[in-house]
């Protein structure tokens, strides 16, 4: 007899599954060894049904959350149920098989009950180093996937709970900081084991038949909510565009175009008009492109829908092969975040005329990522220090942008200055907001961040990528653009030099790298801004008197600024 799921049992099972995902995320962060996981939290964890649909996700980076989809589909094609055993942990990081970039290692574990597959759990984490041409992997300008590090197809790293020592050996031989990375991989496996244990308990308690019926209903409920949200959106064809500064190899700007064809309760998205694949590593593999589209549409249509695979069913995505949004082998993809954040921004831009109250202005629009590597003077060991920053978030229909906060796909944390200096031979000399970097508007775009990092030893490599250093974060509905970003070496000295946004350089002791991130665009006409808000910004030193007069027409005469 087929069990008919009711709304209540469904919700009970949903909470239980979400708790599993949270618990996996907690385990991973607490036990990991590298700052990119334990401080920045560039991770995600999820629970899947037996068909591979995402059911529940730990609340971390949306880019990685929705990014499980394609990998899982590939995994289901790769293994039959019988080939999966209790205690197996499968890893992969191949961007051409549903992965992100090689730095993001995905692990899946099957959940089997009495020999029958009942579901999966998975975790994904950004690792400090995967080998390849650049320490930390975050260099711009790499031209082939082979330069980006060890690329792994689906591999059983644990078979029936037993670590495969040979495979661990291969990985260890190909990466720069094996102590940390292997510790991090084991932390991912722990998270999976914890998840498998808990899912088994739940399925045992409710029986597989009830669990599956409820999960199917849960997917349908989310799908129903998204479709209802889409119906409320006017039908039409919407186009939004944006630009990536360059690919790190040439200086040519790269055009991105998102076309949304919305009909009734569904939408088709294509990228016609988008640039061909480029030599540099800003090509975006499909998994991240899907994530960007899903993220932006859910944010607009129904931001509080239970996030699972059901949400994605109303959307059809078409990305032509050989373009920057669906590159062919051996295109390099390491700096893909510069591109996919623009896809998100382009979706918002496309739908702004249709739903002005649900969009935000342009944000920092990239993920500024630096990897510093050298040999630690005290321990003599190789270190790789990854620094990821947010930026400014766009102004909103009723509020200013969030100063110096991340937005959209990322949702990372920064690394505390004290955590950095306790571990690496660098000194951070400034971490602050940049005045006047927010685009003027009725609601002001957020201020950008500045972080100045002095290296204290010679021979440190600086791998990096950033963007929005040529194309500013856009304002909407009359709001002004925000400030562009810039990387400056040794500011205020005779050796001051503006550096390329994507590259790999060597630093010597005493060099200061000044990261100035992009700000964000304003929303609405600056002349409509509440004069009190302008005065408050001037008093806080967030807006100069010059900008107050020029952009807002407000002259501040008394001594209100700092």
């Amino acid at each position: 007899m087929k069990y008919r799921a009711d709304a209540v049992t469904m919700q009970v099972i949903r909470y239980a599954m979400e708790q599993v995902a949270d618990e996996m995320g907690y385990t991973l962060v607490r036990t990991a060894r590298s700052t990119v996981i334990k401080e920045i939290k560039d991770i995600s964890c999820a629970v899947f049904d037996r068909a591979g649909n995402t059911i529940a996700q730990a609340h971390h980076a949306p880019m990685l959350l929705t990014g499980f989809e394609l990998g899982m589909r590939a995994l289901r094609r790769h293994y039959s149920d019988d080939e999966l055993d209790d205690g197996d942990v499968i890893i992969f990081n191949d961007p051409y098989a549903g992965g992100q970039h090689v730095m993001d290692l995905v692990t899946f574990a099957p959940v089997k009950l009495k020999g029958k597959l009942v579901g999966f759990v998975g975790s994904i984490a950004h690792h400090t180093d995967m080998g390849g041409a650049a320490p930390g992997g975050t260099a711009g300008g790499l031209t082939e996937i082979y330069l980006e590090g060890l690329r792994m197809p689906f591999i059983k790293l644990y078979k029936r709970g037993q670590e495969d020592r040979e495979l661990f050996g291969i990985i260890a031989n190909n990466i720069r900081v094996p102590d940390k990375t292997l510790g991090d991989i084991r932390a991912q496996a722990s998270a999976n084991f914890v998840g498998v244990r808990r899912v088994k308990e739940i399925v045992t308690k409710y029986t597989p038949a009830v669990t599956h019926a409820c999960l199917e209903k849960l997917l349908n409920v989310s799908e129903g909510r998204v479709r209802a949200g889409l119906v409320a959106l006017p039908d039409g064809d919407y186009t939004g565009e944006d630009w990536v500064d360059d690919d790190g190899v040439t200086d040519d700007p790269i055009h991105l175009q998102v076309n949304i064809h919305k009909r009734g309760d569904s939408a088709t998205i294509d990228f016609d008009g988008t640039a061909k694949q480029v030599r540099g590593n800003v090509n975006a593999p499909l998994a991240t492109v899907y994530a960007a589209v899903y993220y932006a549409l859910i944010a607009i249509v129904d931001p509080h829908v239970p996030p699972n695979s059901g949400c994605y069913r109303p959307f059809t995505i078409r990305a032509e092969e050989g373009t920057i949004v669906n590159p062919n082998m051996p295109g390099a993809v390491g700096a893909r975040t510069n591109t996919v954040q623009k896809i998100t921004e382009a979706v918002f831009r496309a739908l702004a005329p249709a739903v002005p109250k649900r969009v935000m202005a342009g944000s920092h629009g990239n993920i500024t990522n630096c990897g510093f590597s050298g040999y630690h003077p005290v321990t003599g060991k190789r270190f790789v220090y990854i620094d990821i920053q947010g930026g400014g978030a766009g102004a909103r229909p009723t509020k200013d942008g969030r100063d110096g906060q991340d937005s959209h796909l990322a949702r990372f944390k920064n690394t505390p200055v004290e955590a950095v200096e306790l571990e690496y031979p660098v000194r951070i000399e400034r971490y602050e907001l940049i005045p006047d970097s927010g685009g003027a508007g009725k609601y002001r775009g957020a201020l950008a961040l500045r972080r100045d990092i002095r290296v204290l030893i010679d021979d440190v490599s600086w791998a990096r990528y950033g963007d929005r250093q040529r194309f500013a974060p856009f304002g909407v509905f009359g709001g002004h653009n925000g400030a562009k970003g810039q990387f400056v070496l040794n500011p205020g000295t005779s050796q001051e030099r503006v550096m390329k946004s994507k590259g790999l350089d060597k630093l010597k002791a005493g060099d200061v790298v000044s990261l100035r991130l992009p700000g964000a665009g304003g929303y609405g006409n600056p002349q409509d801004r509440d004069p009190e808000a302008v005065r408050r910004d001037v008093r806080d030193g967030k807006v100069s008197r010059v900008q107050a007069l020029r952009d807002y027409g407000i002259e501040i005469t008394d001594d209100e600024s700092v």
Binding site: R30, T31, P303, G404, S407, E421
Partner: protein, 709 residues
């Protein structure tokens, strides 16, 4: 007569709760008065007079008053704290605003969700030109001119409190101390909080946040304490006034003046203390306290008979690094609103009808169905006996609201819809309990559930059933539980020093002087508070982690021998491996361990509590009435209703039955049995396990012993 009574006071939003313990007779008196929001000291005074009258006692009988106050919590919620000036290391004035750059959970897809605004606006965040290195060396000496400039700005801006938080100030406090001296010289009346004294641990944002909250709450706390002490002095003469901390310990009013942040959220801490205490009385050493009120559901985990204390948490979205009892709250209460989403899913909360307008059944303008409405529609609440009949409930309004917003859209009957609301809110609470137990490595099946707060006993048995928990305890005076916790709290002071040593460096020779130095401070502090040396207990602990990790586990260090030895440290490290393995599913004794911080807790024991035991009765309990009540999988069943104040030890009730008291109702579902113990606790267990229940009562002598220690 020598002082032989202790008084606990907890000021809540609506009521001020008081509990008076007479240590000579073992009697406990309790009462409530209305909170006086404008001047809470007045309500406290009225309450003291009232309870002294009830107990027929004189002020001279009081050994001390232990006071849990929400003055700080409320000031934080309502943003009514002081105008604070913050001094940071040059280049880092924005750390407080940048935070960790991460948007909140609810803002994952919602572009409109923000972190709470920083408590100090940018123009009052000023910089001192200086820099300490990670090892505590002075990288850049303090430029006093920059400090003078900042202080003068504070003077012009009429700043009411100053917070100082420098990078690596916890490694070398000399610059923070210098700046404080300068502040005190120029602005002698403005209180100063130093990060190095309030939270001397790494991670600058969290430390700055803690320091700022302390400064923000200092003036209002000082004013309140001054006013209360003056009033107490005038009415009752000199009285030892103790203030409850969120760590679950008390401190003297004098110590509280500079530790305002430690008083935030002390109410739930009192509840957790009382939970542990009752667990020790009933012989339940593993217990989960569930406090369900109108808007929140607080979960306190008790392992090994005492509440767990964690070293950081958050208040109102602001992180704080202070010891706090591990009580987690979720937004589920009687006022949580049920709604059906566009996809046809039934949800309860997070929106709450609060107390104004309140649930639909209050008839005060609420139109949406809440958990209280569902309980009423299912017969679980008595419309004529709610909050001691102070509020008349309207079942028709509850039914109409459920019909319109849940039953109709889901095509269900009102009863099915109301039952659905309870199942969903229960699932939410079950998840909250699991997150705070199983997620921390504990199996709920080994725990009992202790329910308090107005709505706790309504849901408790079904929650416990869902989690397979041993039994449910509903203590007497469960509506004044936090005040009860406060009055039984020990005096407590916590110290921490960041040492950052590798396993090889962490020798007894290196660690012992650090512990001894903290201990000297601690003992001097308690002596000053008139605690006799034999009532002092000192605990040592170390924050350990595997090399390369960022999060530590706090592991006890033995200090019961005259000297710390390396074998003691080896024991601590072994315990770390075991704990790591339990919590995170792996531990590896082959891996190197780091010692990040040393902690010391100094306790001045409060007198042991001797509760009076009630006499057993042989006569069966008599129900006061009967009505139809809904139970899952049974539907409406004719159910016996008992009055709690009529129940005596020896009474045994079989489910289905309801036990009503003025401020709460206990639901005993079918196939459960409720007994009453000698302390007046309701003990509810599955009928099948009643045999096991009888054997557990044999443990009473052991429980008494636990209480005496």
């Amino acid at each position: 007569m020598a002082p032989h009574m202790r008084l606990g006071i907890d000021v809540g939003g609506t009521f001020t709760d008081l509990v008076l313990i007479d240590d000579r007779s073992g009697k406990i008196h309790y009462t409530k008065t209305f909170t006086t929001p404008g001047n809470p000291a007045q309500g406290v005074l009225t309450g003291i007079e009232k309870i002294l009258r009830i107990a027929n006692a004189a002020p001279g009988d009081l050994e001390y008053i232990a006071h849990g106050t929400t003055i700080g919590t409320n000031a934080l919620i309502e943003r009514q704290g002081a105008r604070v000036g913050l001094i940071t290391t040059a280049g880092f004035r924005d750390v407080l605003e940048i935070a960790r750059i991460e948007r909140p959970d609810a803002g994952l897809y919602d572009i409109n969700v923000d972190l709470p605004a920083p408590l100090v606006p940018r123009y009052l965040r000023l910089e001192a030109d200086e820099r300490m290195g990670a090892d505590g060396s002075i990288v850049r000496p303090l430029d006093t001119a920059s400090v003078v400039q900042a202080i003068e700005k504070f003077q012009t801006e009429h700043v009411q409190a100053i917070a100082i938080c420098l990078l690596f100030g916890f490694r070398n406090p000399v610059h923070e101390h210098l700046i404080r001296e300068m502040c005190q010289e120029i602005l002698p009346d403005v209180p100063v909080t130093l990060a190095g004294e309030i939270a001397p641990e790494f991670r600058e944002f969290e430390r700055t946040s803690t320091t700022v909250i302390n400064a923000y709450l200092t003036p209002i706390t000082e004013r309140y304490l001054d006013s209360l002490q003056a009033k107490l002095q005038a009415s009752f003469g000199a009285i030892d006034l103790r203030i409850m901390q969120t760590s679950g310990g008390a401190m003297t009013a004098q110590a509280a003046r500079s530790r305002a942040v430690n008083m935030v959220n002390s109410g739930p801490a009192g509840g957790a203390l009382a939970t542990a205490l009752f667990g020790r009385l009933t012989g339940d050493t593993r217990i989960i306290g569930c406090d369900m009120g109108g808007t929140s559901f607080d979960i306190g985990l008790i392992v090994d008979a005492h509440p767990r204390v964690k070293s950081e948490g958050e208040f109102e979205g602001y992180p704080v690094k202070i010891p706090m009892i591990d009580v987690e709250g979720i937004g589920a209460g009687g006022g949580s609103i049920a709604w059906v989403d566009a996809g046809g899913g039934l949800n309860v909360g997070p929106r709450s009808a609060g107390s104004d307008p309140g649930p639909a059944c209050y008839g005060q303008g609420g139109i949406y169905p809440t958990v209280t409405d569902a309980n009423l529609a299912l017969g679980r609440l008595n419309p004529d006996y709610f909050l001691g009949s102070e509020i008349q409930l309207h079942p028709d309004r509850a039914q109409a609201a459920i019909q319109e917003y849940v039953a109709s859209p889901l095509k269900m009957s009102v009863a099915e819809a109301a039952a659905g609301i309870l199942r969903v809110v229960n699932a939410n609470m079950v998840r909250g309990i699991s997150v705070n137990s199983t997620q921390k490595g504990y199996d709920t099946r080994e725990f009992s559930l202790l329910a308090f707060g107005g709505a706790g006993p309504l849901h408790a048995v079904e929650l416990a059933q869902e989690l397979g928990m041993r039994r449910v305890i509903v203590p007497p005076f469960c509506s004044v539980f936090s005040a009860f916790g406060a009055v039984t709290a020990d005096l407590r002071h916590d110290y921490v020093r960041t040492v950052a040593l590798s396993q090889a460096e962490a020798t007894a020779e290196r660690l012992e002087p650090v512990f001894r130095d903290m201990e000297t401070h601690a003992r001097a502090q308690l002596a000053q508070e008139n605690v006799s040396p034999e009532a002092v207990v000192v605990q040592w602990a170390a924050d350990l982690r595997y090399e390369g990790q960022s999060y530590e586990l706090t592991i006890p260090v033995a200090n019961d021998e005259p000297r710390l030895t390396d074998p003691h440290i080896a024991e601590t490290i072994q315990l770390f491996h075991d704990t790591h393995s339990r919590v995170y599913a792996y531990g590896d004794p082959g891996e190197r361990v780091e010692c990040v911080s040393l902690r010391l807790t100094a306790i001045g024991r409060a007198p042991a509590l001797k509760l009076a035991r009630q006499k057993k009765t042989a006569r069966p309990a008599k129900p006061k009435s009967k009505r139809k009540v809904y139970f899952f999988e049974r539907g409406f069943v004719m159910t016996a209703i008992y009055e709690r104040s009529e129940l005596r030890p020896g009474h045994k009730l079989t489910g289905p039955s309801l036990i009503e008291e003025t401020t709460s109702t206990t639901v005993v579902p079918p196939r459960f049995i409720c007994s009453v113990d000698v302390y007046g606790n309701l003990l509810i267990e599955p009928a099948l396990r009643s045999k096991a229940a009888r054997s557990s009562s044999k443990r009473a002598p052991k429980a008494k012993q636990a209480e005496r220690k």
